[in-house]
Symmetry: D2
Subunit: 139 residues, 4 copies
Amino acid sequence: MYSFATTRRVLYGETDQMGFLYYGNYGLYYEMGRNEAIRNLGISYKELEAMGIIMPVVELHAKYLRPAKYDDLITIKTSVLALDADNKISFYCELFNEQNKLLNSSTTQLVFFDTQLKNTVSMPSILINKLAPFFNNDK
Amino acid sequence: MYSFATTRRVLYGETDQMGFLYYGNYGLYYEMGRNEAIRNLGISYKELEAMGIIMPVVELHAKYLRPAKYDDLITIKTSVLALDADNKISFYCELFNEQNKLLNSSTTQLVFFDTQLKNTVSMPSILINKLAPFFNNDK
Amino acid sequence: MYSFATTRRVLYGETDQMGFLYYGNYGLYYEMGRNEAIRNLGISYKELEAMGIIMPVVELHAKYLRPAKYDDLITIKTSVLALDADNKISFYCELFNEQNKLLNSSTTQLVFFDTQLKNTVSMPSILINKLAPFFNNDK
Amino acid sequence: MYSFATTRRVLYGETDQMGFLYYGNYGLYYEMGRNEAIRNLGISYKELEAMGIIMPVVELHAKYLRPAKYDDLITIKTSVLALDADNKISFYCELFNEQNKLLNSSTTQLVFFDTQLKNTVSMPSILINKLAPFFNNDK
């Protein structure tokens, strides 16, 4: 498996009148986690897109265990647990607060879509090559 | 079961550079669906909150089937499929475009939390009374 | 001058822990006001964009007079007070609550940008023709 | 004057279908700038709020000079140019891209509001004491 952690601080504008990070704003945290996890492999999502590959989200499953609050410094731990078959990739994301309490976990599944072919495609080889080394031991 | 439909038009600011409604912005659509479904029962979420009941989201499961695009007039169909046991309620939400194509479906589970008791509680009787008639035939 | 009013209800996710509509979320309200004001003229911003004209915002000036709160039904009154010279258009926007109290006023200035010419251009004639009748009496 | 700089990377979900950071999302960047500028003084906005002082925004004036794009690493430079009289504070904010091009400038004015007195109040002495040293030379 491949994992990478980054941090992000909860903004006032991301809370709601309950005083918690609004459930609908977690998608931005998951996205940031994915962006930085991919960047850490040596390629950016922006570069993939420049190659004509976009990655729309097709499924999201999130569990909200404890509230995140304003100004909390959240650790976003993003993992690729397995290389999906076909033309999809799944990211497992865990959010922790400064006391290292697990606040939220989610799985987000995205497809690889070729903007020229206008169809889903397999994971680009450039990304496979970056990820494969983390999964060799799993065989 | 209880269902209610409302509409909402996709704003430019809700799209992303893919030209689609960003996956992280659907939470606002689901929320709007819940707000209006509850209001249609004759009570508002705002009134529940004034009674000391808040309803944090504890789980979200969303499937993105087709993209929603800028200026699409989305029909948000929100249903309570069953009365959950305990202190939770689940909303099933379907989003349709103007061609009546299903774009997205989701299930959002919320808990009832009493801000004075600082604990989860059963569904408030005022809400049970409003919802129960829709489930009598299910028995 | 040309004016048009539409309504929008404040979502929970748009409030912050102060219990007010977050100052950074008003941009969506102004955008909705502009969208509907233009649509009411018989053309949509989406159609303008399909003709190759995009309208980036170049300046925003907003005054927050009274807070908007969760579930408030906001009336968004959008006006074009004058036809700007050159390649810009300004929208004056006022937000009112259900007690008809003025909550917020803003002026947003946008430019017309031709995506093929990659340059700013004059207001498209299709939009001039729709707006001009409202300003004839001003002469 | 007092200045502090921090950085933030543009998320996909913050762009719009023009491919630019949506004008309505800049408020979050300005807020982050203010949060970190205050924190760098040795007190956080969260702590001020815990003392019963909230700071609603009363005016925003923003100029959008160049677009910010997905994945741009934005430098947010936040300055307090002068100590306002009365019960307000203004932050001047400049956003730069990685080529050090100025993308956006804004002035945001906030009031100090005491949640117990339910009234605007002067700048809390704890904040005055932190800021004053930066303005002594201005006299």
